[in-house]
Amino acid sequence: MNTALTPEAMHRPGGGRGLWDALTNRYLLRLLVHKELRVRYRGSVLGMVWSYVKPAVQFAVFYFAVGVFLQMNRAVPNFALYLFSGIVAINFFNEAFGNATRAVVGNTPLVKKIYLPRQLFPVSSVYVAGVHFVPQLVVLVVGAFVVGWRPGPLQLLAGVAGFAIIAVLALGLGLLFGAINVMVRDAENLVDLIAMVVSWTSPVLYHWNHVAEALGTGPGWVIYHLNPLTPAIELFHWCFWAPTNGVDYVQPPGLPVFAALAGVTALIMLLIGEVVFRRLDGRFAQEL
């Protein structure tokens, strides 16, 4: 029966090049992102406007609680801008990471019935978070211009680098926890916990001065900066807040090194996420 078999063309069904396939299948990725956005705002009157309302409220709450009542306003010039540039970064991370973690379980019917590179689901979640980041970025830039934003090219580049670090880190963690979440649903809860911890351990609501005062600039300072989000947010501050009127910017000690380290950490995380995802991928259909 096996006459004239062309063994070179035979392949195992399923197993492809994982994350690479997901990233290069741009058409399907675009459709999945579109689907997710449509589904998110189904039956909603305000639709995408919600992605302005939520950060606006969050901003207002933090501004009054931390800026006015805790008087960060006096310690940090243009505190509103300082605060918002950190909030948009942390929101992007939390949304990308949280949705990526729930992505595989959330697409159970597809995972069980049709083979496609499952990395597509976490990747499209990170894309969706990126789409939601855009309106927030617009508001941030407008706000920055109001207080005389004049960034240099290096500062703009720093903003892009900060965004890239967050995106890669969120995707790596999302792949890891998304795969684990198929096996034990505890991963979802762990994600919320991680999201809460990272938002408070990054310099979003306070200035790095306060950390340096408390920890010094020795080993404590280094440990504090091992969280890749900290340098990413400092890059955002340097990009959006530093070049505005009345800010006497002092770079946190060692920022370039910590930023490079954060980039490496994010890439390692992506690698770990992809390896774990691939190992567990073969069991997704039967575990769901």
Partner: protein
Amino acid sequence: MADTGTTRIIVDDVSKVFNIRHTHSLKEWIVAKIKGRREATVDRFRALDHVSFSVDHGEAVALLGLNGSGKSTLLKLISGVMNPDDGEILVQGKIAGLIEVGAGFHPDLTGRENVYLNGAILGMSEEDIAARFDEIVAFSEIEEFIDTEVKFYSSGMFLRLAFAVAVHTDPDVFLVDEILAVGDEPFQKKCLARIRELKESGKALVIVSHDLDMVASLCDRGILLKRGKMIHDGDVHEAVALLRGQ
């Protein structure tokens, strides 16, 4: 047949064992483990037991067996949704699995959007879908509702559209699981005609169905599974007779 002698699917000594876990929560698992309760144990279930066969270009094979005999598991292994624990499966060309019609459909999208999304999920490019869009819609006969959200469709309309997309993906290997119970009789006839067309154009077909008369007329070859073991591979009428005699 034009290209005789091309094997499309090889199933080589394939086994599949399911571990049935009773909990998906870490806490429950640990508590059950400490208390020695049943939830901590893992039940093993052998769904496929050393199955081997191959399917040629232009061949239509019926997978037969009672419920739980491993038919659907085998289709999922061939489509790549699951991996075998033992043995190897090799395929050649593009596979389309109609494991369940409409698995990639989303109720909140319109029919049109679903055609594009599902086409892309089944491996079509944007141009392919655009080129075949009218054909797909014409096949499904729901032209006037194509821009309506799928959640407002009747179940028949939904299945028609999903089936129409699937049969227009132009795969080399076509896996069909119990989907021919779609729609009314005229539509069923149309589906069967389309599947015969696919077969004649040289696709390899693997069909799972409990409608024995239908598969007997559609396929030449029947593979009979019983509790994960292959007990017959040959003429489809013999396979049907064996299954009925069980």
